[in-house]
Symmetry: C2
Subunit: 175 residues, 2 copies
């Protein structure tokens, strides 16, 4: 049996639900270069050694011009045979963020449309969103109604057993 | 700017907390070839295209001889500069499983010790476990006391927008 460790098997993608409490709106984009014309949440692939939360904030800023603050992870997906991933698999993480600025300046190269849209309207859309976006709207609406403690996956920073290394452990909030 | 997609950046490791309700014991092992002599939960790296749940069940069986059934994800960790990962990063997922068999037959190549240990005893251990194991005991004990709905991250299988592909979306249980 071959006991050699395998090389990296996954890329990590991150997208962000940036929710504006006062107006009940959420930040959505349409990709310029996608075969689909769905409204979706801004996001993209993690750089090597970049934390999930940092990817979310960076991609949101690059794509929409909005500064935001990471709050929690709401969901993640494991997808094998991910198109464009060179035969590797994909972990796609959906985060919840708070907007720090509100004026959109979207990236002309990657994004064709970008706006603040009513969360209820996005949730009710049956043609222009993918199943995962619909599901994420459900989760967000549940959190708004019953408290985000019911939907959030939060992190605790911990010290690794390997000297000098730290990591983030994501799990349900403990009392 | 280089717009070429990056190659896979992460390996996925999975370990399993196999909890035996009737005796309040949990399945623990000691690695034969580790620099640490910690009690830990059985687990290992995902094969290419292997789902998290399947890795947990396979590694538990290989290392301990115990058949088990995946129930939920309790936590995951993102670690950069993971030793032995060729400069890539590591996502390490901790699952909760139900034992289907109870007689241990541990792997002589990889495992030096394997046993059912009282969960309370493992939680109280201050020398022979790593910080993440201690934290995971806390989370498991919280679930036992207040209901696993408070700690579980569960999945829903969904259809991809890419024809023929399915994926698992992990998030908090919705009512």
């Amino acid at each position: 049996e071959d006991r050699t460790p395998r090389f990296a098997t996954h890329q990590i993608g991150v997208s962000g639900m940036v929710y504006r409490e006062e107006t009940k709106e959420i930040l959505v984009v349409k990709d310029k270069n996608s075969q689909f014309s769905y409204w979706k949440f801004p996001g993209g692939l993690s750089d090597l050694e970049e934390d999930i939360a940092d990817t979310a904030e960076r991609e949101i800023l690059e794509e929409t011009g909005i500064n935001s603050e990471f709050l929690s992870i709401l969901a993640f997906r494991q997808q094998h045979q991910q198109p464009g991933a060179f035969g590797r698999s994909d972990i796609f993480v959906v985060c919840r963020l708070k907007p720090l600025t509100f004026d959109i300046m979207h990236c002309e190269n990657e994004i064709s449309h970008c706006k603040w849209m009513s969360l209820e309207e996005l949730h009710a859309n049956t043609t222009d969103i993918s199943p995962i976006t619909h599901r994420m709207c459900q989760i967000m609406l549940h959190g708004i109604k019953h408290g985000f403690d019911n939907v959030d996956i939060r992190f605790k920073e911990m010290k690794s057993v390997y000297k000098g290394l730290k990591y983030k452990l994501y799990h349900r909030p403990l009392p």
